[in-house]
């Protein structure tokens, strides 16, 4: 599974402070530690409080690029901030994210083509978050059709079924699993699936346990990628083990170490 480390996000106080003080060390430390822990890609989000989001994104990406060439997921809803991030991050980046309404697809699909980036599409549109899996799959189908029409290969699209906190709506985790399965039937090659995992446990008392249980369930349903806390070693262990049990890696006694020394 493709792991996108979530920790470089202005919602975290240490990151917010580092951005304000233009202090590279905490950012570079987070980049290094997440990659060492097994992350394949780093999410980069300036947070809601940044005074000049484009400038903050520019500084963040440049700061990360001083220590690693790993792919970055540029996490913003603002097209101009996205463009700035993609320009500096280079190829194999991820656009995180677009919603399903046409005006947004018209902006972000051409951007994905221009920068050879993958595109995360949330199953949300002008009517909000659908109530069930069918509604989510409908939006996913619209996104895939729009991508194909504009010349973006469906395998470059990552559908995010939008998980909500389990203590807010307890039906959603099931609906999202159904979406992950359904999305694979939309096209050939099918789009990829991704989850903003930590959202499932927002506001609960057992965040780590809920995250890791749900991740394993989602991998079982066919999940391809997750934006998650790569520094949670138990979570990474559960992910590595789930992949092993699905025969995606060859077993050996030190299979956890083998994954991390890739």
């Amino acid at each position: 599974m493709y792991t996108i480390g979530e920790r470089i996000n202005g919602m975290f106080k240490s990151v917010r402070t580092a951005i304000q003080e233009q202090n590279p060390e905490p950012i570079q430390d987070l980049a290094r530690r997440q990659l060492e822990a097994g992350a394949d890609c780093l999410d980069v989000n300036v947070g809601p409080a940044a005074a000049d989001p484009a400038a903050a994104m520019e500084w963040l990406v440049k700061t990360i690029r001083e220590v690693t060439d790993a792919p970055l997921a540029i996490d913003t809803t603002k097209p101009e901030v996205m463009r700035k991030g993609l320009e500096l991050a280079g190829p194999n980046s991820i656009i995180n994210s677009t919603k399903g309404q046409q005006e947004q697809l018209d902006i972000f699909i051409p951007m994905a083509i221009e920068y050879q980036a993958k595109l995360i599409a949330l199953t949300i549109d002008e009517n909000g978050i659908p109530r069930d899996a069918n509604g989510r799959n409908e939006i996913a189908l619209r996104v895939v059709a729009a991508a194909m029409e504009k010349g973006l290969d469906p395998s470059q699209v990552m559908i995010d079924g939008v998980i909500l906190p389990v203590n807010v709506t307890q039906e959603t985790p099931g609906h999202v699993l159904e979406t992950i399965r359904g999305v694979k039937l939309l096209s050939d090659p099918p789009p990829l699936t991704v989850l903003g995992l930590s959202n499932v446990s927002q506001g609960t008392q057992q965040r780590a346990l809920i995250n890791r249980t749900y991740l394993v369930m989602a991998i079982g349903a066919g999940l391809d990628a997750a934006i998650m806390d790569a520094l949670d070693a138990d979570l990474m262990d559960a992910m590595i083990t789930a992949e092993l049990l699905l025969n995606r890696a060859v077993y050996c006694d030190d299979f956890l170490k083998a994954y991390r020394s890739r």
Binding site: V250, C252, K257, R262
Partner: protein
């Protein structure tokens, strides 16, 4: 509608490993051998590249078996009591890319030769031929831990391939290999899980994965050949899928395994229906080699000169001219 070849996209490649060092590289070899670097399954040149040909190593024993089957006696009898002459014959007459020197004479139940004697044999063979050397212990763990560091030291700088590190005995040979600038064979008993584990154990000691060749064990035709093939195939698929702990090139012990079979050895008076013994063993060995070649083996260790020549012919016919 024109036929379109289905092409698989692979994420990764097999490591490329060079054995042997010329004088410019600090050794005395007149040639070196590079294997691996493949970006696809064996011989699918429409899909990816295999920049290096599979190579033929000829096995030389420091002490011949008490009893050879007659075809081996006929082919090797004159040289098999002199490792230097044996090695020279393999290079001059068979065109061996490498010599695989196996120090069976060190085994406590065979010659129980001393580390000094073994090191001397290594030096003699190094002087006799210019091709790179594979140096393999006797298979007794304690004895190998005595002889291999001495042999490694005697060949320091020659960039040899040392065998073998196994799950229960890998530290001494890995340390010697690192100290003297050699490459290492990691061995598993027809078990891909243990193969991966040995690779992790040896790289944990600080050995770079690009210095490893894997030996998964082999079974000759009729004695587990298909099973060995399936492990090789799965290993290659894992390597192309990005498993760095299974991305090393592979070696197969063909000669010793093929000639173990009674079908290869039995004299005509015992089994007249099996045809002439002069052909049977040679074909048994060549067929076994052919199978492992298709399984993705990079270094094939052979016994009979004619089997080696048949193998080389097969390689020539499979490797496309441009690669």
């Amino acid at each position: 509608m024109p036929f379109e070849m289905p092409v698989e996209k692979w994420a990764s490649t097999v490591n490329e490993v060079t054995i042997g060092a010329t004088s410019e590289e600090g050794g005395t070899r007149t040639s070196t051998v590079t294997v691996g670097g493949d970006t696809t399954l064996p011989f699918l040149d429409f899909e990816g590249k295999s920049p290096n040909r599979p190579v033929v190593a000829m096995e030389v024993l420091d002490m011949p078996p008490d009893e050879w089957p007659s075809p081996l006696e006929d082919a090797l009898g004159k040289v098999c009591r002199d490792p230097a002459a044996w090695a020279r014959m393999c290079v001059d007459e068979v065109g061996a890319d490498l010599i695989c020197l196996r120090l069976v004479g060190a085994h406590p139940e065979r010659g129980d030769r001393s580390p000094e004697e073994c090191a001397e044999t290594v030096k003699t063979v190094l002087e006799a031929v210019g091709v790179p050397l594979i140096i393999w212990g006797c298979g007794d763990a304690d004895k190998d831990n005595e002889i291999m560091p001495r042999c490694s030291e005697a060949a320091a700088g020659e960039n040899c391939l040392l065998g073998s590190a196994v799950q229960d005995n890998y530290k001494t040979i890995t340390a010697a290999c690192m100290a003297d600038g050699h490459k290492l064979i990691t061995e598993a008993p027809l078990d891909i899980n243990i193969q991966k584990q040995v690779n992790i154990l040896t790289t944990d000691m600080g050995l770079d994965p690009s210095r490893i060749i894997m030996y998964q064990s082999t079974g000759g035709l009729g004695y587990g050949m298909e099973y060995a093939y399936s492990i090789m195939e799965r290993t290659r698929l894992a390597a192309l899928g990005g498993d760095k702990m299974l991305s090393m090139p592979m070696l197969a012990q063909v000669g010793s395994e093929a000639w173990r079979a009674k079908e290869a050895r039995a004299p005509e008076e015992e089994a007249p229906q099996w045809g002439p013994v002069s052909e049977r063993g040679v074909i048994w060995e060549a067929t076994t080699a052919n199978c492992f070649l298709h399984g993705g083996t990079h270094i094939l260790v052979m016994w009979h000169p004619r089997a080696a020549q048949l193998l080389r012919k097969t390689i020539d016919s499979l490797v496309s001219q441009e690669s």
